[in-house]
């Protein structure tokens, strides 16, 4: 449940940001609502390996708060398709624009036809699991609302595979099942383009 402190942290950042806006003596700004799209190439890195991913997040930006939905192709471990809700808070600090983000959703398995039986086992199912990603980064603006994205975060995806033992019937005729649960935990470094 490490996900919980992560999202609490994001919420605090968001509230601190808002609180600072409210505390400022500047006159209230007009609410700006824009469509925004974050598209990144991801490097997924753990102590065990490095893999790649592609991701697009699209949604609505209300002032400095962004709410959207994303989908990705994630090659880390077993290839999968995370689908998630995305929350971002942008902080304009001088020329630099920082943001913190949090994603949470479902990590769907990539369809892959497996052999019906192999070595006396039949593949039963590949199941998805929870997906989350939390991190921070900054935007380097160029040409109007376009910006280059650089970010780093902590990402977890879960999957499971089930097998049934077939054919041998020894030492009993009882069906035997095996299950592998995978929890991939990695650093996600992203580079991309926001428009």
């Amino acid at each position: 449940m490490r996900i919980i402190p992560g999202f609490v942290f994001l919420l605090i950042i968001s509230l601190v940001g808002k609180s600072q806006d409210q505390n400022s003596s500047k006159p209230a700004k007009k609410v700006k609502v824009n469509f925004a799209s974050y598209n990144t190439f991801n490097l997924l890195h753990s102590v065990e390996s490095v893999h790649a991913g592609l991701q697009t997040v699209n949604g609505v930006s209300i002032n400095n708060t962004f709410i959207g939905a994303g989908v990705a192709i994630d090659w880390y471990g077993m290839r999968s398709v995370p689908m998630f809700a995305d929350f971002r808070q942008v902080f304009n600090l001088g020329r630099a624009t920082f943001f913190a983000y949090g994603d949470i959703g479902y990590n769907g398995p990539w369809y892959k036809k497996e052999p019906a039986t192999m070595w006396g086992y039949s593949h039963q199912s590949t199941d998805g699991g929870i997906y989350y990603d939390i991190g921070a980064g900054y935007l380097i603006p160029f040409r109007k609302r376009n910006a280059m994205i650089l970010s780093a975060g902590y990402s977890v995806k879960e999957m499971a595979k089930s097998y049934q033992q077939v054919g041998w019937g020894w030492p009993t005729e009882e069906d035997l099942y095996e299950k592998f649960n995978y929890k991939y935990r990695r650093l996600s470094v992203k580079i991309g383009w926001r428009f």
């Binding site: 490490r2 030492p171 009993t172 099942y177 935990r185």
Partner: protein
């Protein structure tokens, strides 16, 4: 500005360090395995008697003797049913024989395998059977092979299932998935750690003859004063002139993947995955090969009548192959059996012939009854829908059928409309 920057992002940086200590995949493997329960040989032998009846959990080979049905439960023993009223068979006893897969009956003696041993049991009173003899080590193929280290001083009588979850490797090493040592499929832990190498079983004639009547899936059969058994690769010959004391005479190498043995007149029909062997037992202690009929690789129980043999070929995990059919063979020239006709089936197993009727267990299709008067044109008369039918004994209009969920008896005096007369549920 700098102050604000630190106030907001310092915690983020610290948090990143916190998470970075967790950048290690976690994978688990949940599986079941079995551990053996042992008894000493003396304890096992003392328990080979008519114990209280127990429910059947898995039906194996079948033997019909007089009013009694002997039903093997693989590796556990033999259930005894009083079938004097076929409409209401009674489960009357259980003979506890660890490692038993096959059986045959001659007169008042039941011959059964118990792992590598042959046991002789007096069944004069099926409610009070008595162990008469044990021939040790006559089925050497029934040992546990590969990685299983059995306590050879004791006998396995049961297996206990245990479930466990262990930490597993995630198979995720490498750079962008490139790792020459990586396997696409994770290696499953239990694999087939210890497979029993072979099994054995029974014979055929009529339930009222001294020999009783076995199904076509049998690996034991009796003829005159001999017991013949087949292992995966050998035909074993026992002389049972002294019924209580079988005398092992010889074994004959047959080839590999031998499955069933069926007696007819003075011949033995032996089914293997690659073909059917015909042996003459005119000299009972010295069977001589007469002919063979080769077919594509698959499992093949056999029955025969005067001039024809009926061979069911099936595919499946253990049977390999892709063929599911009935082959009718002309065996008038016993030295050169020839294929008369082939009939497609779904997944045939045991079969039985009663007069002009041929009954075939066709897997999940159920039991099929054919009119076999014209071997060139078998006529399907009816199909009894049963799940995973395995073996059948047909005798005087009653079919005893082993299926996944029970032992059924059907009366088929009208073969186009067979009637269920009883079921023993598993």
């Amino acid at each position: 500005m700098k102050k604000e920057l630190f106030r907001i992002y310092l915690p983020a940086i610290i948090a990143m360090f916190f998470f970075s200590s967790c950048l290690k995949d976690q994978c688990t493997h949940t599986y079941s395995f079995y551990t053996p329960e042992y008894r000493t040989a003396d304890e096992v032998r003392a328990n080979i008697k008519s114990n209280d009846p127990v429910p059947v959990t898995k039906a194996g080979k079948l033997y019909l003797r007089g009013n009694y049905i002997f039903l093997n439960e693989p590796d556990r023993g033999i259930h005894v049913f009083d079938n004097s009223n076929p409409y209401s068979p009674k489960n009357v006893a259980f003979i506890d024989i660890p490692g038993n897969i096959d059986l045959a009956v001659k007169g008042n003696y039941l011959y059964a395998d118990a792992y590598t041993d042959l046991v002789v049991i007096d069944i004069t009173n099926p409610l009070d059977v008595k162990l008469k003899n044990v021939k040790e080590g006559v089925f050497p193929q029934r040992f546990y092979s590969t990685f299983f280290a059995q306590d050879s001083s004791r006998v396995i009588v049961n297996w206990k299932r245990r479930d466990t979850t262990v930490v597993a490797t995630c198979g995720n090493d490498g750079f962008f998935g490139i790792n020459p040592m990586k396997t696409d499929v994770l290696v499953l832990n239990s694999g087939c750690p210890n497979c029993a190498n072979a099994d054995f079983s029974n014979g055929n004639s009529s339930p009222n003859s001294p020999y009783g009547m076995g199904g076509s899936m049998a690996r034991f059969t009796l003829m005159n004063n001999n017991l013949y058994t087949v292992s995966n690769s050998h035909l074993n010959v026992f002389n049972i002139s002294n019924a209580e004391d079988p005398n092992f005479k010889k074994d004959i190498m047959l080839g590999w993947d031998v499955e069933t043995i069926y007696p007819f007149k003075d011949k033995l029909f032996i089914g293997s995955m690659s073909g059917m062997f015909i042996y003459s037992v005119s000299n009972p202690d010295e069977p001589q090969q007469l002919g063979t009929f080769s077919h594509a690789r698959s499992c093949d129980p056999v029955v025969a009548d005067d001039d024809f043999a009926y061979v069911t070929l099936r595919s499946g995990t253990e049977c390999l192959g892709f063929i599911n059919q009935l082959d009718v063979l002309d065996i008038k020239d016993i030295m050169q059996p020839s294929l008369l006709k082939t009939y497609p089936l779904t997944n045939p197993r045991g079969l039985s012939k009663d007069g002009n009727y041929l009954l075939i267990c066709d897997g999940d299709d159920g039991l099929k009854i054919f009119n076999a008067t014209d071997r060139n044109n078998l006529e399907l008369l009816s199909t009894i829908s049963l799940k995973d039918t395995y073996d059948v004994i047909a005798w005087r209009g009653v079919a005893l059928v082993v299926a996944q969920d029970g032992l059924y008896q059907y009366e088929y005096s009208d073969p186009s409309a067979p009637k269920l007369i009883s079921k023993i549920s598993l």
